[in-house]
Amino acid sequence: MEQQKEASTFGMWVFLLTELMMFGGLFGAYLIYRIKYYDAFVAGSSSIDVKWGFINTLVLIGSSFTMAMAVWYAQKGTRKLQMVFLLATMFLGAVFLGIKGIEYYAKYDECHIPGHIIGKGFNATGGPGCDTGNIAEEIQKRARERGKPEVPEASAIQTAQQTEIFFSFYFAMTGLHAFHMIIGLGLLSWLLMRASRSEFGPEYFTPVELGGLYWHFVDIVWIFLFPLLYLINRTKT
């Protein structure tokens, strides 16, 4: 049994490392574009509501803790507490996705979704129905508030238009992450079903252990996404 668990854990890690390469490719591309379009990345990042990202980080860290506890009680074979912690993890995961929905809706409302298929099309320079998401104006306001030299309108508009690349990364990375969360919720419901049948105990709890590994991995991705997407430059001066 011990050897089987060892083999399963090893296999799960190999899978997670392929996931790491997939997200890693996105992070690498993100870094290169962030260096090239730094001003646009700052402007785009500052237009996201950091409050939700912060709360979501805490929610996800909390869900990792409840998941670790679920694994602990699965190993102990405590059916009830195991189910309580699996449910708590699912609840926190759902809260995370709900908050993500609020954030996505705000971006939709501000015309910050890249491309021209969804909503009113990308528009960060103000216009009919898109005035709340005027990033060009924000750039000039930011410079004025901090006593920096006035940003010419043409250059503010150019930077605002370049934020489309930032939002492409924002949606690709948080979207892929949210997709993993949805799969994770599916896995957790399956584990919950099996836990309710008292299938796990000290002798056999590998599925919970591996589900936990997956959930924690998704948490790690968010631990990097939060500072890279939300906190590029939030300084006050």
Partner: protein, 98 residues
């Protein structure tokens, strides 16, 4: 087998507290002007948090040597991907993308 000891709920609680503290710290650090050090501090905190999750929540601290070295090799490979890509882009005589 590497079943020496196992983390306890108390340890999980301590890790949770560290992760929450790290999140608050990374937010505060981002509002503080440190120039070039802002991203460095942010990534250092993120890496520390990730290592805590991997070692304790993901039980790598208590895993076999084979699993340990596999995980380490994977993350090392990621570092190669990012370091070599960036050293290429950053060291070109022409500006990025020209």
């Amino acid at each position: 087998m590497a079943e020496h000891s196992h983390p306890t709920p108390k340890l999980y609680g301590i890790i949770l507290a560290c992760l929450v503290a790290g999140t608050v710290l990374t937010f505060l650090a981002a509002t503080w002007e440190m120039g070039i050090f802002n991203p460095i501090v942010a990534l250092t905190i993120a890496c520390t948090k990730a290592v805590l999750v991997i070692l304790f929540f993901m039980h790598i601290r208590y895993s076999s040597k084979l699993t340990k070295i596999t995980v380490a090799a994977g993350f090392f490979w990621l570092l190669i991907l990012i370091t070599l890509s960036l050293s290429d882009y950053l060291s070109r005589a022409l500006p990025l993308g020209s």
